[in-house]
C-alpha cells in the first residue's frame, strides 16, 4: 500500500477508538445526540463530495437522507425485513434519487442548480413526506415505528443498545471518510476537482462530464442516504421534521462554514449540528449575574449559524477548517525553513 493510504487508515483507526469511547457513560439523550451527529456528519460528508470536490451546489442533501430513512423504515416496519436490508434499500433509494437530481445538473450550473435542488427539497418535505398519496412510503401520519432491531446479530435497538448502533455508524463513517480522502487524491478525484475548477478544460482534456457529474450526485446521495438510513434505528421512528428544507439549508450552511472541501470539516460539522444545539438548550438557561434570565433555544443556534456563515463568506472564503489548514501549512513551512518563494500563501 502507498504511504498515503496507510496513514489515513491509521488516523481513522485512532479516531475511531477515541470517538467510540466518548459517549460511554453519558445519559441516553446525549448518546442520541452523538449518534445523530454521525447522521448529519454523513450529510455534510456528502456535501464535501458533491460541492467541495465536484463543485456542484446542492441544497437537498437532507432530502436524500430522508428518502433513505423512509426507505429503511418501510423495509423494516412495513415489509418486516431485516435492518441490513433496510439500510441497503434506503441507500439504493437515495442513490436513485441522486441520479435523477443529477440529470438537470448536466445542463445547469451554480445558482440555477441551487434553485432546483431547493425546489426538490421543498417538494419532498411538504409533499412526498407529508401527503397521503405517499403513505405507502412514509408509513402514514405517524411514520414508521422501529423497535427491536438487530444488525448482523448485534442488538442495536434504540431503547437499550444505542451505543452499539453508534459504534457501527462511527465505524462506517470512518471507512467512508477514508475512502473519500483516497478518492480525492486519486485519478477519479482529480476528475471531480477538474470539473469544479474548469469544466471547459475538463471536457476538452478528456473528462466525460455527463458520467462524472451523475456519478458525483449518485455517490453523494448514497452517502447522505447511508447516514439517513440509520435514523429510524436510533430514533425509533421516522418523521418529516428532521429532513425538512431547513435541515438541508443548515447542512449546506455548516458545511460551507466548516470548509466544504475538507473531510474533517464534515466530522466537525456533524458534531456542531447535533451536539451544540442540544447542549445549548440543556444548559443554556439560568440567571446571569443574578439579574438577567437567559434561555438559549435552538433558534439561537440557527441564528448564530446564519450570521457566522455570512461573516465567514465575507472574511474566510475557505471555511474554518480551510483557514486552520492554511495557517498550519504555512507554519509548517516556516518550521521547515523553506525559502520564501516556495512557501504557500497565507
Amino acid at each position: 500500500m502507498m504511504p498515503g493510504h496507510i496513514v489515513r487508515f491509521a488516523i481513522a483507526i485512532v479516531a475511531f477508538s477515541i470517538l467510540a469511547r466518548l459517549p460511554v457513560g453519558l445519559d441516553p439523550a446525549f448518546q442520541f445526540d452523538a449518534a445523530l451527529a454521525i447522521v448529519w456528519g454523513f450529510g455534510i460528508l456528502s456535501l464535501v463530495l458533491l460541492t467541495g470536490y465536484a463543485g456542484q451546489v446542492s441544497l437537498c442533501q437532507a432530502t436524500f437522507a430522508g428518502v433513505a430513512a423512509y426507505g429503511a423504515g418501510m423495509t423494516v416496519a412495513g415489509m418486516h425485513g431485516g435492518y441490513l436490508l433496510g439500510i441497503v434499500i434506503g441507500v439504493l433509494a437515495a442513490t436513485v434519487l441522486g441520479v435523477i437530481v443529477g440529470l438537470p445538473a448536466l445542463r445547469l450550473h451554480g445558482i440555477t442548480l441551487a434553485i432546483v435542488t431547493l425546489g426538490i427539497a421543498l417538494v419532498f418535505d411538504k409533499y412526498v413526506f407529508q401527503d397521503h398519496i405517499f403513505d405507502w412510503f412514509t408509513g402514514g401520519t405517524g411514520g414508521w415505528q422501529v423497535t427491536q432491531a438487530s444488525l448482523l446479530g448485534i442488538p442495536v435497538d434504540s431503547s437499550t443498545h444505542l451505543l452499539n448502533a453508534y459504534d457501527v455508524m462511527l465505524a462506517l463513517f470512518c471507512v467512508v471518510a477514508v475512502l473519500m480522502v483516497n478518492l480525492h487524491q486519486s485519478g477519479a478525484g482529480r476528475r471531480f476537482r477538474a470539473i469544479r475548477d474548469s469544466e471547459l478544460a475538463a471536457s476538452t482534456m478528456g473528462v466525460n462530464l455527463t458520467r462524472y457529474k451523475l456519478l458525483a450526485f449518485a455517490i453523494s446521495a448514497g452517502i447522505a442516504g447511508l447516514g439517513g438510513s440509520f435514523y429510524p434505528l436510533i430514533a425509533g421512528s421516522v418523521s418529516p421534521q428532521p429532513f425538512w428544507v431547513f435541515t438541508s439549508l443548515q447542512l449546506a450552511a455548516i458545511g460551507v462554514l466548516m470548509g466544504v472541501r475538507y473531510v474533517p470539516a464534515a466530522a466537525l460539522g456533524g458534531l456542531f449540528m447535533a451536539v451544540v444545539p442540544d447542549v445549548l438548550t440543556r444548559y443554556g438557561h439560568g440567571t446571569f449575574m443574578n439579574r438577567f434570565n437567559y434561555d438559549i433555544s435552538y433558534d439561537w443556534f440557527q441564528l448564530a449559524v446564519g450570521v457566522l456563515l455570512v461573516l465567514q463568506l465575507i472574511l474566510l472564503p475557505d471555511g474554518v477548517w480551510g483557514d486552520i489548514r492554511a495557517r498550519a501549512s504555512r507554519a509548517w513551512d516556516v518550521v521547515r525553513m523553506k525559502p520564501r518563494e516556495e512557501m504557500r500563501p497565507a
Binding site: R107, L108, G110, K126, L303, G306, I314
Partner: protein, 298 residues
C-alpha cells in the same frame, strides 16, 4: 362555471403576490448580481413587524383604517431599513465575488432572519391576517360574490408593477438602475454611483417583498417558516421572466398563481402546489436556456 371564476380570481390574486415577490428578486438580481434566497424571509420579517403593530399594540381611539395604515407603514419602513442594512453591512463587501458565493450568503441571511423571527414571535401559526378591504365586502362579477380583498390584491400588485416600470423608465434614477443592470462597469464610466444604485435596489426590493408578504396574509396561516419558503414559488415566477424581463416576470407570477390554484378544485393537498412550482422551474430552466441564467455583466 362560477366555481371556476372564483378559483380564477383567487389564483390571480395569489399570482399577483408571486409577481410582486418575483419583481423584487429580479430587480435585486439584475442590479447587484445577487440572487436573493432570503427574499421571502425578508418579506416575512417585515410582515411580522406590521402584524406586531397591528395586533400587538394598543390602538385606542383610532379608526380601523388608520390602524391598518399604521401597521403597513411600519412594515414598509422596516423593510426599507432592512434592505439598506443588508446592503451596507453585507453585500457591499462582496461585490466582486462569484454569483454562487453571493447566493450562499443570502442563505445565511435566510437562516438568520428566520430564526430571529422565530425567537421573537415563536413558531406559532397565526390566523390573523391584515385586511386591506373590509373582510365581508364583496364585489359581484358575473353574479358571483368575490371577496373584495382578492380584487384589491390584484389591483395593488398590478399598480406596483406599473409604478415600478414607470419609475424605471421615466426618472433619472430609474435610468441609472437600468444602466447598472445592463453593465455596471460601463455605468460607472458614465458617472453613475453604482454603490448608491445598489443600495436603493436592495431597499426597493425589500419594500416590494414586504408588500407581498402583507398581501398574502389572508391566504395562509402564516408563520415564520412558510412565508420564508415562498421563495421557491417566487423564484419560479422570476425564472419565467428569464430573470430579465419585468413584464414577463409579472405574467409569470400570475400564471403560476393560476397553475397552483386550479388543481385545488379537484385535489385537496397542501403539498401539491409546491410540486407544481418545482415542475415549472424545471420546465423553464431546461427548455429555455441550455446554459442557465442570463449573463449579468459582473
Amino acid at each position: 362555471m362560477t366555481q371556476f371564476a372564483a378559483y380564477t380570481i383567487i389564483g390571480l390574486s395569489l399570482g399577483g403576490i408571486f409577481a410582486l415577490a418575483a419583481l423584487g428578486i429580479v430587480l435585486i438580481y439584475r442590479v447587484t448580481g445577487v440572487l436573493n434566497f432570503a427574499h421571502g424571509a425578508m418579506g416575512m420579517f417585515s410582515t411580522f413587524v406590521a402584524w406586531q403593530v397591528f395586533y400587538g399594540m394598543p390602538h385606542t381611539g383610532m379608526a380601523p383604517w388608520m390602524v391598518t395604515a399604521e401597521a403597513i407603514a411600519a412594515g414598509l419602513v422596516f423593510a426599507v431599513l432592512l434592505g439598506l442594512v443588508l446592503e451596507l453591512a453585507v453585500f457591499r463587501w462582496v461585490r466582486n465575488r462569484p454569483q454562487i458565493t453571493k447566493a450562499v450568503i443570502t442563505i445565511g441571511v435566510l437562516l438568520a432572519l428566520q430564526s430571529a423571527a422565530s425567537l421573537i414571535w415563536k413558531n406559532n401559526q397565526y390566523h390573523l391576517p391584515i385586511y386591506l378591504a373590509p373582510q365581508t365586502a364583496t364585489f359581484k362579477i358575473a353574479d358571483v360574490p368575490i371577496g373584495a380583498n382578492y380584487i384589491v390584491i390584484v389591483v395593488v400588485a398590478l399598480g406596483l408593477a406599473f409604478g415600478l416600470a414607470a419609475f424605471l423608465r421615466g426618472t433619472a434614477f430609474g435610468r441609472a438602475m437600468r444602466a447598472v443592470s445592463d453593465d455596471p462597469t460601463a455605468a460607472s464610466l458614465w458617472g453613475v454611483r453604482v454603490d448608491m444604485v445598489g443600495a436603493v435596489s436592495w431597499m426597493l426590493g425589500s419594500l416590494i417583498a414586504a408588500v407581498a408578504g402583507i398581501l398574502i396574509t389572508p391566504f395562509i396561516n402564516f408563520d415564520t417558516t412558510s412565508l420564508t419558503l415562498l421563495i421557491v414559488d417566487s423564484l419560479a415566477a422570476a425564472l419565467i421572466g428569464g430573470l430579465v424581463s419585468l413584464p414577463m416576470t409579472v405574467l409569470g407570477g400570475f400564471l403560476l398563481g393560476l397553475l397552483e390554484t386550479y388543481p385545488t378544485m379537484w385535489i385537496q393537498s397542501l403539498g401539491l402546489p409546491r410540486l407544481i412550482a418545482l415542475l415549472v422551474i424545471l420546465a423553464v430552466l431546461i427548455i429555455r436556456s441550455p446554459r442557465g441564467l442570463p449573463a449579468v455583466a459582473r
